[in-house]
């Protein structure tokens, strides 16, 4: 498994993809041609998937390119990722140990990223038989982005959900009412700094049952889960 990369287009495809994937490289070429500098990064896993990162200003244009030029007419989903490491530690941390100093370094995933919040969406092309994931960075001080409603009608509820879960504003949406939670609910649950109060009141007790960890990579091979 390759490590996460934020390299630009050419380096990514050359350094990390010994095998070639023409169909997906064609998608990257289409976006490079249409968006130029607004295409900030891309990542191809040959035979599997392609990730593209575009600039915030070009988000809607990228959507239209995705739909019309790349032929991905079937909308799949739109959501966001909060790349901040959880300040409440990981689930496997023991509740009795002292909580480690929370990690604040933001490491983003495929196709790179500079900021904490990233909106990502995916669409599918029936005739190419592949899907494309688009990502876009949002600056922390202005969590807003153009709506994709003119691109895919189905994005309506997805943007409402993302607004509710992350507090991201979709400019031009017009009806960002809460979709899941009751009106009185405060906070944005899918942000990493949203605490699960039940876990803080009563920490997960399952940690006592977990066997000691095998030594990093070396011990992994001689252990078998099946009989």
């Amino acid at each position: 498994m390759s490590h996460l990369s934020s390299a630009d287009v050419d380096e990514t495809t050359e350094a990390e993809a010994p095998a070639t994937d023409e169909a997906r490289e064609e998608i990257v070429a289409i976006f490079t041609e249409e968006l130029g500098d607004a295409l900030l990064g891309s990542h191809i896993r040959p035979g599997d998937d392609v990730w593209l990162r575009v600039s915030r200003d070009a988000w809607r244009t990228a959507g239209i390119v995705l739909r019309d030029r790349a032929g991905c007419r079937a909308f799949e989903f739109l959501s966001a990722i909060d790349w901040l490491p959880s300040p409440f530690g990981k689930s496997e941390d023991s509740p009795t140990d002292e909580r480690p100093e929370p990690d604040t370094e933001i490491v983003t995933g495929y196709a790179g990223g500079d900021t904490r919040f990233q909106v990502f969406a995916r669409a599918l092309s029936y005739h190419r038989k592949l899907g494309v994931t688009l990502k876009v960075d949002l600056p922390d001080d202005d969590l807003s982005i153009e709506t994709w409603l003119p691109v895919f009608a189905g994005v309506n509820w997805h943007e409402r959900e993302t607004h509710e879960m992350f507090g991201i504003d979709f400019v031009g949406h017009g009806h960002l009412a809460p979709i899941y939670l009751p009106g009185e609910f405060e906070g944005h649950p899918l942000r990493k700094d949203f605490p699960l109060l039940a876990r803080i009141v009563k920490p997960w007790p399952g940690i006592v049952d977990v066997e000691p960890m095998p030594e990093a990579e070396g011990g992994a091979d001689d252990e078998e889960a099946s009989e």
Partner: protein, 166 residues
């Protein structure tokens, strides 16, 4: 039923009333989540056939029901509706909480949107554990409730005070 209100209900009459009550329960099905399908299998399928226990499923409205079965996850958004429908049921009314979620939150014990048990909202008579419980388990819960109804003191019930039934 002047006898009941005056508190002078003879024992044989109590027993007769209880017996007739416990074998003519109208169960209002409140299917919330996965357990609803198992409840549907218990109430609506020929294999489990709840009617042989003297329980009549699928009333048109909670106003006609004696028993409500909450089966599935209760969310904070759902709570007002649950309370409202419970209040619309005529007394004496009984509640079965079916499945781990309705009992205590179940697998969603740490979720931000799930109520940790329907008993925070309405009083519960019988808890049926399981995730989801088999239809047989729900039937046993109903039998337990019938035993409980059989032992009830009608006069105490009429006073409107909380009942303690052993």
């Amino acid at each position: 039923m002047g006898l009941v209100e005056s508190g002078k209900l003879p024992k044989p009459l109590t027993s007769l009333l209880n017996t007739s009550r416990k074998y003519s329960i109208w169960i209002f099905q409140w299917g919330l989540a996965c357990c609803a399908i198992e409840m549907g299998a218990a109430l609506g399928s020929p294999r489990y056939d709840v009617m042989r226990l003297g329980v009549i499923p699928l009333p048109a409205s909670p106003r006609q029901a004696d028993l409500v079965c909450f089966s599935g996850t209760v969310t904070d958004k759902m709570v007002p509706a649950i309370r409202r429908l419970y209040d619309q049921m005529p007394d004496p009314k009984y509640v079965i909480s079916m499945g781990s979620c309705a009992n205590c939150g179940g697998p969603y014990w740490d979720s931000y949107s799930v109520t940790k048990g329907v008993d925070q909202v309405v009083p519960v008579d019988v808890y049926v554990p399981g995730c989801p419980p088999r239809p047989e388990a729900l039937l046993e819960g109903i039998v337990l409730l019938q035993q409980r109804i059989g032992k009830e003191d009608m006069v105490e019930r009429w006073k409107g005070e909380p009942l303690v039934v052993s």
